[in-house]
C-alpha cells in the first residue's frame, strides 16, 4: 500500500519557497495559502508524465489482437480524442450502456484489443512501480479536452436514468455513519482536516471540482482519476467497495459531470 510520504514535495517546495514565503506575511487564511501553493506547483505538474505515457499507450499495438486504441470510439467517432472527455459520460449504442471514460476504455481494451477484464484492470490505481495504464490513458484523453466546455448530454433515456440514479445516490444515506455524499458535500465552508469540502450541490463548486480531475495527487505521487476519487469517497463514507466502471459509479459521474456543464475543462490538474 502507498503510505503518505513526508518528503514528497521537497523539491517543489524548495523551488517555490521564495514566492510563497514572500507573501506569507501578508496574512490571509490557510485555504488561500493552500490555493497559492497549488498554483505555484501547477507549472511543473507531473501529470504531464502520465499524459505522455498515456498518449504512447493509446497509439501502441497491445493485447492479444495486437491493435492500438486508435479505433476506439469515445463518443465522437473512432479515434477522436479531442474534446471527448468533456462530453462523457454518454450513451453508447454498441454497448447499450451509459459509460464514463474509464468504463469506455475498458470496453475498447476488451472488445478491440482482446484483453480480458482482469488483464485490462490489473492495476486500476497505480502505486509506485506498479503503474496503471488506465490512469495514464485517462490522463491523456482528459488532457485533450483542456479548454473545452463541459457538455454532457441528457438526450437519451438511459442518460437521464443515469443522472437520476446518480442524484439519488448522492443523497442516499447509509453505512455505519449514516453518511451520504451530501453529508460531506452539501454545505458551503466545511472542511475535514485542512481539506476544503466542495459543496457539490452548488454550481460553482460542482464545476470546479469536476473540471479539475484527473489530478496529480502530490501527497501520493500519483495521478488519480474520477473512478479513484469516487472509490476513495466511498471509503471515507464507509460504503462497500465501489466496483470499477460499475453502473453505480457511472451514474454518480453522470450526475457530477452534467452538473458541471458550461464550465471550461481544465485537467489533469494538481491537488494536495
Amino acid at each position: 500500500m502507498m503510505q503518505w510520504r513526508g518528503g514528497a514535495l521537497m523539491l517543489g517546495a524548495a523551488l517555490v519557497a521564495v514566492s510563497v514565503g514572500a507573501q506569507a506575511q501578508s496574512g490571509g487564511d490557510t485555504i488561500k495559502k493552500i490555493e497559492e501553493y497549488r498554483q505555484a506547483l501547477a507549472d511543473g505538474n507531473p501529470a504531464d508524465l502520465w499524459e505522455a505515457r498515456g498518449e504512447d499507450l493509446w497509439k501502441q499495438k497491445r493485447g492479444p489482437k495486437n491493435v492500438s486504441l486508435e479505433r476506439c470510439d469515445l463518443g465522437k467517432g473512432p479515434g477522436v480524442v479531442k474534446g471527448a472527455y468533456a462530453e462523457l459520460p454518454r450513451y453508447f449504442a454498441d454497448a447499450d450502456r451509459v459509460m464514463d471514460l474509464e468504463s469506455r476504455l475498458l470496453h475498447c481494451m476488451t472488445t478491440q484489443q482482446g484483453m480480458t477484464r482482469a488483464e485490462a484492470l490489473k492495476v486500476p490505481f497505480g502505486d509506485g512501480e506498479k503503474r496503471s495504464d488506465m490512469e495514464a490513458l485517462s490522463a491523456y484523453v482528459a488532457g485533450e479536452s483542456r479548454g473545452v466546455k463541459m457538455n454532457v448530454s441528457q438526450a437519451h433515456a438511459k442518460e437521464r436514468q443515469a443522472y437520476a440514479l446518480g442524484q439519488k445516490l448522492f443523497y442516499y444515506r447509509g453505512g455505519p455513519h449514516d453518511f451520504a455524499c451530501a453529508t460531506c458535500h452539501g454545505e458551503a465552508n466545511k472542511r475535514i482536516r485542512l481539506q476544503d469540502l466542495p459543496n457539490l450541490t452548488e454550481t460553482k463548486d460542482a464545476q470546479k471540482a469536476y473540471t479539475t480531475w484527473p489530478a496529480y495527487r502530490v501527497s501520493q505521487g500519483e495521478l488519480r482519476t474520477m473512478q479513484w476519487r469516487l472509490n476513495d469517497c466511498f471509503r471515507q463514507q464507509r460504503f462497500p467497495f465501489l466496483e470499477f466502471g460499475s453502473d453505480t459509479s457511472v451514474a454518480l459521474l453522470t450526475f457530477l459531470a452534467r452538473n458541471a456543464n458550461g464550465a471550461e475543462f481544465n485537467a489533469p490538474a494538481i491537488k494536495r
Binding site: 503510505q3 514535495l9 507531473p46
Partner: protein
C-alpha cells in the same frame, strides 16, 4: 527503462529558462512496505544539463528530492533553436538522457 523526461526550454529575454519533469520514484529508504519491510533507497544522484557542448548545470541529488521531480533553471549564452540535453543517473546506475530545442 525509465520513462522519458519532459523538457521545455524557452528564451526569456537573454536567458534560457529550462523546465524539466523526471519520472522517478526517489525512494528515500525511510519508507516501509505493507509487510513492514524497509523499501531500499533508490534515487537520482547526478543531474547534468549541457547546451552546445558546454555544461550549464551539474547537480548532486539525494533523498530529500520529491518523487517525480520538477527542476527549473536558467542560463545565458544560448539562442532559440539550440539544443538543451539533460541527463540523470540514479543510485542503481540507471540513467536517462533527453533533449529539447530551445523555443523562441
Amino acid at each position: 527503462m525509465a520513462d522519458p523526461m519532459r523538457i521545455r526550454a524557452k528564451m526569456e529575454g537573454d536567458k534560457t529558462v529550462v523546465r524539466v519533469l523526471m519520472s522517478h520514484e526517489m525512494e528515500t529508504g525511510q519508507r516501509k512496505d505493507s509487510a513492514g519491510k524497509t523499501i531500499p533507497a533508490m534515487f537520482i544522484q547526478e543531474v547534468t544539463a549541457t547546451c552546445n557542448g558546454k555544461t550549464v548545470l551539474s547537480a548532486q541529488w539525494g533523498t530529500s528530492i520529491s518523487k517525480n521531480p520538477y527542476l527549473q533553471f536558467a542560463f545565458s549564452g544560448a539562442k532559440a533553436g539550440d539544443k538543451v540535453v539533460v541527463s540523470w543517473v540514479d543510485s542503481k546506475g540507471d540513467k536517462r538522457t533527453d533533449e529539447a530545442a530551445i523555443a523562441a
